[in-house]
Amino acid sequence: MTQEPFYFGEASRRLFGIYHPPEGPAGTGAGVVLCYPIGQARMRAPETFARWAAKLAAAGLHVLRFDYLGCGDSAGDEEQWGISQWLADTAAAIEELKDGCGLHRIGLAGVRLGASLAMLTGAERKDVNAMVLWDPVLNGRQYIQELLAVHREQLGEAGQSPIASAKGGMDSGVLGFSFSDRFVGELDSLDLRRRGGEAAGDLLLIESDTPGPAGDTAFRHRLAKTDVRLRYLKNNDMPDPTVWTTKSYEQVPTKVLASAVSWCAEVLL
């Protein structure tokens, strides 16, 4: 696996990324930006994302995976966490890959909140040709409750009592990370069933083995109003999306990963 780690973006808010050059002929002109989940899921994602990037590169695609501001090795801290900021970061990553490699076809692929950011970004831009949305967070308020439930479970075993409310101070953090009131407010406002924009191109929706986005009537209606060519994939290796937050570091959904890579190569090359 060939990978090139580097920093890019504005001097005051440098973002960390890892570029994977395509194997074989370099002139494919197509690439994929991988969008991480956040928090604990981000901590447990490297193995999956490294393999995903390597397989995409092996298929002939340029690949960039990167950290949002305040995440991973990028500049900043949880105080900078925000949906608006991360949408700007995703756009910066797209520009970095497109301009750096001279690409004319771009795909976005994300997991959990990364998938939500991918969808929102794809809806705002005209140059995103394909999207992979893997267990996207459709509703930010439900997502917060989901995280708090896992948080209570993990701290409960140690006899500690985390704050129950999602607003007005999460003094005990959420699974090791501080959620500012501003960030909680932005998450609370996130609802892809109402805001999904005018996405176009090809879309692969992957969901874990419980009723998910594909089963959400409002979300399906939203997608039906767009021009996306939708393909759907069920991930039978993971019982539900929260596994991204709790799984072992080594666990990689290899079968679904292979299918996602094949799909990207099919629609982008």
Partner: protein, 289 residues
């Protein structure tokens, strides 16, 4: 922020992030700080604690490196790896070599959590360039540990968690609704009531290598042990290493710090902040090591 991504080491290179102080000191003025993976947790550390701590230390004037062992985080695995420990030790030596040859940093403070703590101690013993070691929630059990004594440790540790839980309504609710691991709790209670056998007691006392710790203090290496109050590693320390540390108190080289209420990975931000503050304070105070 002055950080650079680097690839170093042989064959499949290891990926790391170097943090440079804005006002660089002369080479040799301050030791550099190298962070070792906490088991399978990537180089950012549990809940990004290595990133936060590295940046604070860089602001204090220290050169820092956080990196991934082969097969962890973003560093690819290497064919022919013999064992996890051997792989990690090799990676640590490569990191120290990289700091010395590329960045003129030949005095190193190692920081490690859990498995990283054990590796930091082992590396310090082998490599004279290590002048300080920060070991967080480490176990330091020998590779060929006596199985009976190890089994007793496994049953008898975790006491702090159970004792604190006695005063937690939430824990009682978990017990009464069948969510508590009753088998673990039973084994703990039996182990505590019975206590270790005479043989187990003797073996436990010899599990920590006094010779190793003595050699390090004689070499002038400063050692900081940090434990989370609720972590099993603290119980293990009490039963194995505490006697050794106390016997070496006169050297003035070993400091033990316990973060009250904290779990293994300092999940609560307040505990994380306390832990980082103590480590940072210790590193700054020992800069002339």
């Amino acid at each position: 922020m002055n950080e650079t991504a680097v690839l170093f080491g042989q064959d499949s290179p290891l990926l790391g992030i170097v943090g440079r102080p804005d006002c660089p000191t002369e080479p040799g003025d301050l030791p550099a700080v190298v962070f070792l993976n906490a088991g399978a947790v990537p180089r950012t550390g549990p809940n990004r604690v290595y990133v936060k701590l590295a940046r604070k230390l860089t602001a204090d004037g220290f050169l820092t490196l956080r990196f991934d062992f082969a097969g962890t985080g973003d560093s690819p695995g290497r064919p022919g790896e013999t064992s996890l420990k051997a792989t990690c030790l090799a990676g640590t030596h490569e990191a120290i070599d990289f700091m010395a040859t590329t960045l003129d940093a030949d005095r190193i403070i190692l920081v490690g959590i859990c498995l990283g703590a054990d590796l930091a101690l082992e590396t310090a013993y082998e490599d004279p360039r290590v002048v300080g070691v920060v070991m967080i929630n480490g176990y330091f059990l020998p590779d060929n540990a006596d199985p009976e004594a190890t089994a007793y440790l496994a049953k008898a540790s975790g006491g702090r968690g159970y004792r604190k839980s006695m005063f937690s309504l939430r824990s009682w609710k978990r017990l009464l609704t069948g969510q508590t691991d009753l088998r673990s709790l039973w084994r703990f209670l039996v182990a505590k009531l019975k206590g270790p056998s005479a043989r187990e007691r003797d073996v436990l006392k010899t599990m920590a290598s006094r010779e190793k710790w003595l050699r390090l203090t004689e070499r002038g290496v400063d050692l900081l042990l940090v434990y989370s109050e609720r972590d099993r590693s603290l119980d293990t320390y009490m039963m194995t290493l505490k006697g050794v540390v106390e016997s070496l108190a006169s050297t003035g080289r070993i400091t033990v710090s316990i973060v009250e209420g904290a779990d293994h990975l300092f999940t609560m931000p307040s505990h994380r902040d306390t832990f980082m503050h103590r480590v940072r304070q210790w590193v700054v105070e020992n800069r002339s090591a």
